[in-house]
């Protein structure tokens, strides 16, 4: 009987989508356990934690992201139908959405202007380079829209996507603190705010932690913010003197 050497086995495994798919699921399951064990703190959010574990793993075994993504794309693909499925909770709570339409639209406008103005203002003040600045601008929008906007206004699309992800995890970590500080308990307000400031991350967090009502309004905020920002941001960057 021939026994394959370890490096031969590794060559086979590392080129196979099975390994990264399994690693992703196991890392997530482990992250959920760890998060539960430390009392569910948003500072160690399961998503942030599993991303950190997987990046460490990939760096240790020296696998590049493209190889990893060949397996992980099967999970990534489901984001599409999951986004479409957000219509279901939205439909369930349609009466409430209709009743609150104007407050929601106004809050959305206020949130977007705050996000973009504070981002551009702070980054300019701290002396970030122009490309960085323009990649930061769409950071609170879900990544496919953010990449498109960044390209349009002269930023770097892939950097924008990375910053969007960081914003998402920071938003989930800061959210509960801010809500406690402002004494906000309404799941509608919490969900909508998370969806606006932290896009899909916030929506996923709202579904997992705050329930279906918060999730529905979070998904609504994510969609609205994406749509409105695509129109507002090019105007605002011009206002700040770019492009």
């Amino acid at each position: 009987m021939n026994v394959a050497t370890l490096d031969q086995l590794w060559v086979y495994l590392s080129g196979n989508p099975l390994l990264s798919l399994l690693a992703t699921l196991l890392a997530f399951a482990l992250a959920v356990r760890i998060n539960r064990a430390v009392g569910g703190t948003p500072l160690l959010h399961p998503v942030t934690l599993s991303i950190f574990m997987l990046i460490t793993l990939l760096l240790v075994v020296d696998m590049d992201y493209r190889t990893y993504f060949e397996g992980a794309q099967f999970i990534h693909f489901l984001l599409g139908p999951a986004t479409v499925a957000l219509a279901i909770p939205l439909y369930d709570h349609r009466e409430r959405v209709r009743r609150l339409l104007w407050p929601l639209l106004l809050a959305c406008g206020a949130g977007i202007v705050t996000a973009v103005a504070s981002t551009l203002g702070l980054a300019m003040l701290l002396g970030a380079r122009t490309e960085t600045l323009l990649s930061l601008a769409p950071r609170s929008v879900t990544s496919p829209i953010a990449m498109g906007i960044a390209e349009q206004i002269g930023g770097i699309p892939s950097l924008a996507a990375g910053l969007v992800l960081l914003t998402g995890s920071i938003g989930c970590a800061l959210g509960p603190w801010i809500f406690r500080l402002l004494r906000i308990k309404d799941p509608v307000v919490q969900g909508f705010t998370l969806g606006l400031a932290a896009h899909g991350f916030g929506t996923a967090h709202a579904f997992a932690r705050l329930g279906a009502v918060a999730g529905a309004f979070s998904g609504l905020a994510m969609g609205l913010t994406g749509l409105l920002t695509a129109f507002l941001l090019p105007l605002m960057t011009r206002l700040f003197g770019f492009g």
Partner: protein
């Protein structure tokens, strides 16, 4: 076959959304347009088919997991982020905090005002 039917409905909406986005060269991603299409279809139909609910709610329950593969992509951007590390870190944290606070505060206020106005015609005020 409820899972198959539900998944087909979701994928069909996403597909239609992609067609609209590409066809009209909109800057909006296909799945977001697909969400609007599905919402419209549900409004017309007046109820959520049980197969769609089963699949859709199953996917939404694991929404956080679905972000992990894209998130690992951060490792590709280490160099770009490292070049402007401090401005980026400070801006992200401070600006996200301000955005959360302003949005929550505005919505909370508007909602309270809205509820009061809605109560008045019923003669409770």
């Amino acid at each position: 076959m409820p899972l198959i039917m539900g998944m087909s409905m979701l994928l069909a909406c996403q597909f239609a959304g992609e067609l609209v986005a590409r066809g009209l060269t909109l800057p909006i991603p296909g799945p977001v347009i697909g969400m609007v299409i599905l919402l419209g279809a549900l409004m017309i139909r007046g109820k959520v088919p049980s197969s769609l609910r089963l699949t859709g709610e199953g996917l939404l329950r694991y929404l956080t997991l679905l972000f992990v593969p894209a998130g690992v992509g951060l490792m590709v951007h280490f160099e770009l982020i490292g070049a402007d590390l401090w401005p980026i870190a400070v801006t992200l944290v401070a600006s996200t905090a301000v955005t959360l606070a302003v949005t929550a505060w505005v919505l909370e206020r508007l909602q309270q005002g809205h509820a009061r106005r809605n109560d008045r015609p019923r003669g409770r005020a």
